[in-house]
Every structure is written in structure tokens, then in C-alpha cells.
Symmetry: C2
Subunit: 409 residues, 2 copies
């Protein structure tokens, strides 16, 4: 295999902090990030020494009770949010339910939630569920992604979009979105699932109202790790009515007074619901510490470097004609992934996995590769594209076992 000239990599030293699976090129960090030694050690410590030895006293002694907020503040740093505006809790779906209710309450004269047809489905499902509950008080309008900005009107209560499209990797222009929404009196709700940890996000600077996101992709906090939610400071002022209806005891002003009447805590804490999942939160906390001395501008630069190098190598191998990119050509308009269309994309993905290159497939016919600047290398890109070239040019994907689809892809 010829060795090409790789760009310089100021994050090269970070890879050693991760458990890299043997004989594997892992390009699925946009779905599930890798385990770091930081996380492994912290979960073991939390389990054995905090829970195991100090048991119930750990709620105070080890700050368990405040973990959703302290971890939230570490996430805030990565998404351009001030301290005290971000919680780590629940799932994206549940957090989005809270946020949708808050948005419809704040913009109470309006009912329309505007989103894109190919938004990540769970986001749309949550609006549909709220519709079932609220009837006419909540409506969902879906438009193609390229029509979104123009579709924001004086009827729009909130615009709900995933900043980076989960299939194409297209990254929406936040400043334009926010300006258009403000001009029409609409609120903005961002899903940062494919943004947080992938590139710098500026929520406050862009005057975004609400955001949700997950920690198991580019933040590397583990499968199904707790999600986060953000509420702009201006919406956290004291109000007579709580902002969201999932009145869990930890969102109460005095959870340990055990009073029968709900009274919301001040600030972001009122968005808490049940008892926080400590082992999982400890994993998020430790995963975020890996970012502590990392400049997100370096992450963005390397992410673009890796994806551009991937495209360059695919072009050199004559692959782009056979499986064209459906991602924006301008790297500034992408998140940290690329997707390629091929009618046998599912089988190609399976064949790649069998040869140690972990990519993923998204229906109906896209091969998706994610770049995690913290552990992926230019050398991996070179080898992975060479494997892809072999799989495609030699039709190594045509074996029956690769063609048959399993329930979970």
C-alpha cells in the first residue's frame, strides 16, 4: 500500500487515551464513540469505592446529587452555553418532550412546530406524541430541509431541527436560522446529537432558545448514556408556572422536604425529573474530562482534514462515480461525517465490517462514515478507503451473508 502525505495532526496524542479495538478501523464514532481509559477507570471507581464503600453517603460525599448540573456545565463549555443552563439527564426523546412543552408555553399564542421531513425520526415522533395529548394545541409542519428557513412564519411557535442531518451530514447555518426565527417570533430548538463534541457550537452567541443532544456519539460516554438539554438564560427567569410538565421530585425547589405540592426549583434544575443515574453520569463526566485541554477549533480542523482526505482518496480510487457522496461538497457545510449512495450500500457496509472497517448503513441506501477527531487518524482513512476500493471494485460485497439484512442495522 503506498504511503501518502498526511496533514499534520495536533490531536494525535489523544488517541492513546482510548481503547482502540484490535484490527479495527472504527468509523462509527458518529453512532457510538469509543471507550476511553478515563471512563473505564471512573466507572470502576464510582462503582467500587463510591457505591461499594460509601454507599448512600455518596449522594453528599461524592456530589452525586448535583451530577446532572456539574456534568451539564462541562457540556455547556463545548456548546457555547453559560454555566447553569445545561443538564445531563434522561434521553433526547424525554428531554425534547420537556422542551417542546416549554416552547409551546412560552410562545402560547402559536401551535405550529416546524421541522424537516428528514429530521431524525425520534424528534418528529415526540411532536406527534405531544399532538396526541394536546390535540389542536400542537401541530407539526414538515418541509424539505432546503425550504426550512423560508417556511418559518408568524405562525411558527418553534423550529425544531437537528443541526447536522443524520443521513447527509449537512450542517444548518445556525446564525441564519436563528435570525429568521427571531424575525418571525419563532423559538429555536436544536438537536445537537451530531454536533456536541464534533465541532464548536455557539448556542448563546447565536441566540438559540433550546437544545437537546446525546453524549454517546462524539462525546464517547457509552451506549445509551444520558442526554443533555439546554435552556437559554432568558427563559430561566422566575415564572409563575413551571416550564415543563414532567414534575419529577429532583426538579422540586426542596426535594427532600417531601411536600405533596410541586414547586419548581429555580433555574435549569426544574428540568430535572427522577433520581439521576449515577454510574452513567460518572461515565459522561469522565468522557468530558478528555475534552478538558482540547481546543474545539482543533477538533473541527482535524475533522475537516479527515473527511477531505477521505474524499481525495475515494476520488483517486475511482469510487465517487460508483457511490456518489450525498454530503455537501463544502466542508464548512458538513458535520463530521460523509454518506455515499449505492444500491448495495447495506452489503458493502457488511463486507467492510467483515474486513475490520466499521462504518454504518442508513436506510434506504447510504453508507455512512463518521470521523472522530479524538482518535481517528489519516492513516486509518487511507487504509479504510483502500479496503472500500477492494470491496467495491472486486464486488466482495456480493456474498449472501452480506446481502441479508438483520433487524438492527
Amino acid at each position: 500500500m503506498p504511503h501518502h502525505q498526511h496533514p499534520q495532526d495536533p490531536l494525535a496524542h489523544v488517541r492513546a487515551k482510548f481503547h482502540i479495538p484490535a484490527n479495527t478501523i472504527y468509523l462509527d464514532g458518529n453512532s457510538l464513540g469509543l471507550l476511553s481509559e478515563n471512563v473505564r477507570a471512573r466507572v470502576a471507581e464510582t462503582m467500587q469505592h463510591q457505591w461499594g464503600n460509601d454507599v448512600i453517603t455518596s449522594w453528599n460525599k461524592h456530589g452525586w446529587i448535583n451530577l446532572p448540573l456539574t456534568v451539564g456545565d462541562k457540556i455547556a463549555r463545548l456548546i457555547g452555553a453559560p454555566a447553569g443552563t445545561t443538564l445531563c439527564c434522561d434521553s433526547i426523546s424525554v428531554n425534547l418532550f420537556k422542551i417542546l412543552c416549554a416552547a409551546l408555553q412560552i410562545n402560547s399564542g402559536r401551535t405550529e412546530v416546524l421541522s424537516t421531513k428528514d429530521n431524525f425520526p425520534t424528534d418528529l415522533y415526540m411532536v406527534q406524541g405531544l399532538q396526541q395529548l394536546l390535540g389542536e394545541r400542537c401541530t407539526l409542519r414538515l418541509v424539505p430541509e432546503h425550504e426550512l428557513l423560508d417556511a418559518i412564519s408568524e405562525k411558527t411557535a418553534a423550529v425544531l431541527v437537528t443541526e447536522v442531518n443524520f443521513r447527509t451530514g449537512r450542517k444548518l447555518p445556525l446564525a441564519d436560522l436563528s435570525a429568521r426565527a427571531r424575525a418571525q417570533g419563532a423559538l429555536t430548538i436544536l438537536d445537537l446529537a451530531h454536533s456536541a463534541g464534533a465541532f464548536p457550537v455557539q448556542l448563546l452567541e447565536n441566540d438559540i432558545d433550546f437544545a437537546v443532544g446525546c453524549t454517546y456519539k462524539y462525546l464517547n460516554a457509552g451506549p445509551g448514556a444520558p442526554a443533555f438539554l439546554y435552556v437559554a438564560p432568558k427563559h430561566l427567569q422566575q415564572r409563575t408556572t413551571p416550564l415543563q410538565p414532567l414534575y419529577g421530585w429532583l426538579g422540586h425547589a426542596e426535594p427532600f422536604a417531601f411536600t405533596a405540592e410541586y414547586a419548581p426549583a429555580q433555574g435549569i434544575r426544574q428540568f430535572l425529573t427522577g433520581t439521576p443515574p449515577i454510574l452513567a453520569l460518572a461515565a459522561v463526566d469522565a468522557a468530558l474530562d478528555v475534552f478538558a485541554d482540547i481546543d474545539m477549533a482543533d477538533v473541527r480542523q482535524k475533522s475537516i482534514g479527515l473527511s477531505e482526505y477521505w474524499l481525495e482518496r475515494m476520488a483517486a480510487e475511482g469510487l465517487l462515480e460508483l457511490m456518489p457522496s450525498i454530503s455537501p461538497a463544502n466542508p464548512e457545510e458538513r458535520g463530521s461525517q460523509l454518506a455515499f449512495q449505492h444500491e448495495d450500500a447495506y452489503a458493502i457496509c457488511q463486507a467492510l465490517i467483515a474486513e475490520g472497517v466499521i462504518a454504518d448503513f442508513r436506510a434506504p441506501e447510504y453508507l455512512r462514515v463518521g470521523f472522530s477527531a479524538l482518535y481517528n487518524t489519516y492513516g486509518e482513512v487511507e487504509k479504510a478507503v483502500a479496503t472500500l476500493a477492494g470491496v467495491v471494485h472486486e464486488q466482495r460485497y456480493e456474498r449472501a451473508e452480506f446481502q441479508e439484512r438483520s433487524a438492527v442495522t
Copy 2:
């Protein structure tokens, strides 16, 4: 210290499976159960070998995607529920929200949720939150616990109670509750937080409609571990409208088809919302395996044995006059805890903790002790009561550091 005659203990061998904190008598298993070696090993294995090595392929390879159901089935065995009716997911609060919506939909002509004034607050808060959202379509009526059965009427949509009162330990008569509710056309929603793993529960036999519960108390699955929910088989028949409004993608009939329209999965799966928290679910799974070869009748028998022995020892030490029990005298009417009233209960609890006896305090003035039949011993009861006697009779709780209350108790 004199040695008394302890009852026989058929579960004595189980204690060795747990990490018993050094120099500690742990009587707070009703708040946070102890770490078992089973859980420690499984979380480490899930983290290092499944997530660490097999990464994304683990969703299929290690059955991650079905963990909420497979773990749910293990819980079902302990609560008298058939397979396919119980999920392990989210928190009690969030699960209760789903269940409340389902109950109000099924009993759609009625609006009243009937509960007790001293139910665990988060249960009441969740109804209050739903009220905020639904207005007149949801009302909450609170009655004293002893009036509950008589208060169930033809106006009651659902009775929501915690089977075991978190303060007093009183255990409600399920058969009577269920019969009265059925006679009035009301549905039953049980919170099993202090029941699951503490004694045998018979949901199906008692024709209970819905239940929620936690896994971090008597099930020993770790701080803030995922909760569970149960839906009676009769309510899981195919319907045109989904039963609950938190339409997460994993409750979809085909989550990986990524269609924009929600369509509920058949059966209990439609109560799933977001991506399952794998490390936390692995902990629950392993914690339940400790129960695999244990007869819940033995658990109940030992639990009663421990609490009766505790009362016997307190009587012998002359403590019951100074801090009377607020728990039912008949052990059949109790869960697996006792509570004692004393105006200095908070300071007494702190003094006990300082001497290695971990009990807990519940506002306004109760000392609570929980008995976990899997690891507590009769010898511990004897020593703990002796310590309590010293603390109370010699007023060792009167030091300033014990009197000052911290935010979290």
C-alpha cells in the same frame, strides 16, 4: 455484648455475594441497595469487552437492543407478572407519566386520579404536571391512606398508590384495593419502589392494571439505576391509538426504518422511548441474577424475622417508649422497613451513621431502618440496636455536628 438466640437464616449464604462496607451495619437497603460482585463484574465486562472491543456491533451481538425487555422479564418474575409485560427503562417519574396517560386514555370518560396524601411526592408531582398540561382532563384527589379504599368511586379513573408507604412502611392490601377499584370501574396504578425484591408481589393474580418501580433499592442495581413499568396483558391488545404519548424511536414498530410517521410497536415495547442506557441496564440484569435461585417466600420470611427481632431488641432496651414505632405492629401489614418517631430523629440518625450504623431520616421526625434479606443478618440487628440504645440513652446525638441539617438527608 450478650449473644441472643437468632432465628435460622436460609439466606445466610447470599451475603457473601455482596460488597459489605467495612465496619458498617448497612440498614439503608430500602434507599440504596449494596453492590454485589455480580454487578461489579458484569458492568466491567460490558464496559471493557462489549463496548470497548465490540463497540457498535454489540447492539446485536450482545443483545443490547433488547435489554429493556430481557431485563424487564427478569423483574416480571419477582412481581408476579407474565413475560412481555414489563420493561426496564427511564425513571419512575417518566414511566409514571406514560402510565398515567395510558390510564386516562383507557378510562377516557373519567378524569380523577385518586391517591394518598402521604404518597411518595414524585408520584403526586407527576399527576400535577399532567394536570398543568391537560387542564380539566386530569384531576388529582388526595385522601388519607386509611380512607383510600372507601374513596374509590365511579368518578375515579385510576387509583395511584405506593404499595408500601415510604415513611411508615405500611403495606396496602392489594387484593382489597384491586377488588374495590374493579367494582367501581377504576384502574389501579401501583408504585412498587419499596416492594420489588423486598417480598413477593402478585400483580397478575391481583388483577393490577399498571405498575412502576425502581431497581436501586431492594434489587441492588445501583444509584439511580433504570426503573421499570408493568402493563397488564389485557391493556396490551392492539389499539388504533398508542397508549402513551412519549413516542420515542425505540417504541416504534420499525425503529430502524427511520420513517417520519410514528407507528407503535406491538405489546409492551411501545412504552419504550429513547436509546436504552446499556451500562446501567447491564447492572440491573446482573443484580437480578442474584435473585435467580432465591425463593421470594424466604426473602419475606427473613425480612419479617429481622424486623420482629429489631422490635424485640428495642423493647428489651427500653427504646420503644422513647421513640415509638409508626409502622404497623402486624408484620404482614409492613414492607421491609420500620420507622420510629423522635423529635431528634435527624441527630440520632447522624450519630448512628458516625458509629457505623447506616439508617436514614425522613422528614419531619422519623428514623427509618430497612432490612435487606439478601445481606442483613440477625447479628447486625442485635449490634445496631445496642448502638442505638447507647446513642439514645446516653444522648450521644446531642453534639452540634449531628444537629445541623445538610441540604440532602
